[in-house]
Symmetry: C2
Subunit: 343 residues, 2 copies
Amino acid sequence: MMTEKRLGRQTLKLSTPPSMISNTSIVGPKEGEGPLAQYFGQILTDDYFGEDSWEKAESKMLTEVVKNAIKASGMSNTNIDFMFAGDLLNQIVSSSFAARELQIPYIGLYGACSTMTESLCMGSLMIDGGYAEAVVCATSSHFSSAERQYRFPLEQGVQRPPFAQWTVTGAGAAVIARAGSGPYITYATIGKVLDFGIKDANNMGAAMAPAAVDTITAHLNETGRKPDYYDLIITGDLGNVGKAIILDMMQKEGFDITKVYNDCGSMIFDSEKQDTHAGGSGCGCAAVVLNGYIVSEMRKGNINKVLLIATGALLSPTTTWQGESIPSIAHAVAIENTIGVGV
Amino acid sequence: MMTEKRLGRQTLKLSTPPSMISNTSIVGPKEGEGPLAQYFGQILTDDYFGEDSWEKAESKMLTEVVKNAIKASGMSNTNIDFMFAGDLLNQIVSSSFAARELQIPYIGLYGACSTMTESLCMGSLMIDGGYAEAVVCATSSHFSSAERQYRFPLEQGVQRPPFAQWTVTGAGAAVIARAGSGPYITYATIGKVLDFGIKDANNMGAAMAPAAVDTITAHLNETGRKPDYYDLIITGDLGNVGKAIILDMMQKEGFDITKVYNDCGSMIFDSEKQDTHAGGSGCGCAAVVLNGYIVSEMRKGNINKVLLIATGALLSPTTTWQGESIPSIAHAVAIENTIGVGV
């Protein structure tokens, strides 16, 4: 059923678009040597962040980035009505342990690397629906904890194929609120789970591209917007392999997004110099590029209308071992400096 | 800030309470021999459910229980706007693989065993906020896949301590919609993450009890309701150990809930006859007791006002190995046969 708030099967319109009040990011040393270094709030010199395990370091990054976002918003923890967060670690422990310290009512999410936009979708809807004044949305990933969990322990020294991506060590957080001067979240497009039969846990870009195409197509069809409405249509972490696939697939859907398209995973590293093969990935990838680069450029007015589509591969090591292919999902948010400019 | 929809830090009031349209459950053979057997929609004779792994069996249970709920609602998949689901398996693969088959826009959640109420909270708010007409909320767990993942492979034959609980093999789903004749979801109370320092992954009841107490106390204080407003205040899976703790802790908070209190984990098994030690646990526990027993008794009019508090232990094997204690969360929904009867 279509209503004023519901434009089609997947796209929801925020009738009073919530505003991003503050955006913060923390990245690891390698990300801090990449092309977007100037945009990040904090660059760690040690990827253990003073902890004795990578998992604890990841949780500390998430906790700190949320604290920083709340501080930058001028509010305190008690003004933040809900925290929407998730991450790649089993049982999303980075997020849950952060929520334990922050004592903000907490909704744990799992959307793999789509978590940044999943959390922004749910957070925005809670504000627009009248259930919250301000929420914080956050996620993280860590190269070393992700490799250990999903692929091989680093100590094993397994060679990575050329289409493999490099999980971003980083965390990002956004405080969004009913009152504010933008950038505003104007639309949320919720993803469906797609699966094109890719079985290689190193080839995430190819596995996730169809989900991104499905969500972007739904968004454009349901809002009636053309690709060039946006200054930037940016996916989360398809990397260089997925980026090539998506342009081709979108063309087949009747949309040429070439001029405005980019991918956070392609932007965050200099793949040749930094030996990151197909580019960046992980929940933290879209999170730090959004809360670092994108929002910073929007606040300067260099870009004004962005469609961010974070993409998640919904595999587990167990499903891989049991011969399953990799289902994927992509959730999108439209972020705009001006409200009510229409299509 | 308090508004008409927001009664305090944690409790939200559904201004147009969504109605449960259909509720379905599937349980394993052991649950089918327990005291609530007559209430379950389907009892499996084989806990592999015709699949070649427990993980695939769990995902099939979740897929089938959602299909059954949609069928019983008289709707089709295309009428269901969103699916809110999560489970205990790493990367919530039972839910994600179900969403792949069902092709319903999907929000993946992780709240461990609190997922049934977490999904009902988010689903109800999406309907009440005007973003959906109908959603499906679902979760599952499987004894054998959970033991393998969280504790020891069953083949190892490790002896279980007397305070250990037995993960329920089961899945439950509820279709909730804007239009319907009840039972209605009238309030949602979102949990905070609590941690009282329990480190034993077998002693979940004790770990989760403080989170349940916190959420019940918030709910009663913020709504102004007294415990005896409810015919039943029921926690998800504290089991016999947690059940004893909670009555004592609630007394200290100034509330005597003894007369109306029960726990899904205590009800689902006959612990002595079925050798389940401290009772049932797992996402599936609250899911099948809600969608089997509770809703059935509500539809008969035998109980009319229920506060369901599903409780989740947010540990992972990695955090246990790294010496961390077990943080927990509890989300609550008030479910009532009549709307607008006030406090």
